[in-house]
Amino acid sequence: MRRALLLAIVGAGRAAAAADPDAEARSFYYTDNDGLQVVTVAGRADVPVGGGALSLETMIDAVDKQAIDATSGASITTGELTKERYELAAGYAADVGGVARLRALARASHEPDYLSFSGELGGEVALAERNATLAGFIGYGHDALDPTSHAPEDTVAWPATHQRVVGGLSFSQILGPRLVAEAGAAATWQWGALSSPYRRAILLRGSGVLEHPVPDAERHPDTRGRGTAYAGASWYAGGGLALHARLGGYADTWGVAALVPEATVAFEIGERGLLVLGYQYDRQGRASFYQQTYQGAPERQTGDRRLGALDAHLGWLEIDWPISPSVTLLALFQESYFGYHGVGRGVEAHIASLGIQLK
């Protein structure tokens, strides 16, 4: 979205970009100290069709989860979990009247116990002699979950579904020959079965030395409103160096709120090479009903540590290295730390990615 906005306002135009085929293939390897390993293979291709651009994207995840779960202690999973996830997306974008662009996107993903469909319509319009761009989108999604197991005391009738509507607006404004500012907001409303059949809340039963933990089914509210917003700026400092800064925020009707500042430095190497260094900090407050353990029979309870307070640090290095006029090698390395408050050990995640881009 951001690249499209920038191209629109600088006058390069996505139509010109879409006139040339563009393809990308990447592999990712994710591992963390929570016993999770994910190998991902992904591909994307943009092909000019009928005056617009057809975009196809696929992502395949092979997930291997050891039964460590040291941070939450709430999983009932025993033994090793392995599964594959397949995702396919197709979209079409076309210019309208020389100053606007409309796009449509459909996405589907499949796992042995999870099926997801979503669709999105969006567009952007250039304003003030292409010094500003206003963009927006709306969408709908439907997920179906047929779990391989669930807690016997679970009040959700499985298999179950949940739905969502999404929408957002963003605005980008040129502030000078080297400076662009942007801001945006998006919202989601979800309804349906929003608990996980696999996670367990921990109830404390008994008292004193006889107190003992008992796993119990997760009970989340069946609706959730969620919103994100951001504001940022990009400044070209000269000599091939650009600085990007952004402050993002998140809040939902479950009481979770977060602030997410991010800074990126991009440095051009030669005629087509690029080196990018990025850092993001994520500070999140807990959901109103989140507790590590519960007493009695609360109406709402969760085993999801992501609904607790957390601090996260993400740092990454990206390198785009051209090896011929039409082929660029892509590399990404990322180190992340997710510190869940009150939970003994944080999650240290490592990502390595290699890919190739054809233009």
Binding site: M1, R2, R3, A4, L6, G11, E24, R26, A42, R44, R85, E111, D113, E129, R130, N131, F137, G141, D143, P147, H162, G167, Q173, L175, G176, P177, R178, A181, A187, T188, A193, S196, Y198, H220, R226, Y230, Y236, G240, A242, H244, R246, L247, Y250, D252, V256, V260, T264, A266, E268, R272, L274, V276, D282, Q284, R306, A312, L332, F338, A349, G355
Partner: protein
């Protein structure tokens, strides 16, 4: 302070006009380097949804309840 606010309002209202021939620096690839909408951006979005409640800032949060992790 008042002048700064007026300047900011004027800028955001689009009163600054940068002509197409002045936008060479804005079109440089280092200016489009972050969140370019490619595969890596989509992957990053997915990672944040996996490990936090919010997903990527500025994007609509995904629909997952985290059930499938």
């Amino acid at each position: 302070m008042r002048r700064a606010l007026l300047l900011a309002a004027a800028l955001l209202a689009g009163c600054v006009t940068v002509h197409p021939w002045e936008r060479e620096d804005l079109a440089r690839r280092s200016m489009a380097a972050r969140g370019d909408g490619g595969v890596a951006t989509r992957y990053q979005h997915k990672l944040l949804e996996t490990q936090t409640a919010g997903g990527a800032a500025g994007a609509a949060p995904g629909g997952g309840c985290g059930c499938s992790q």
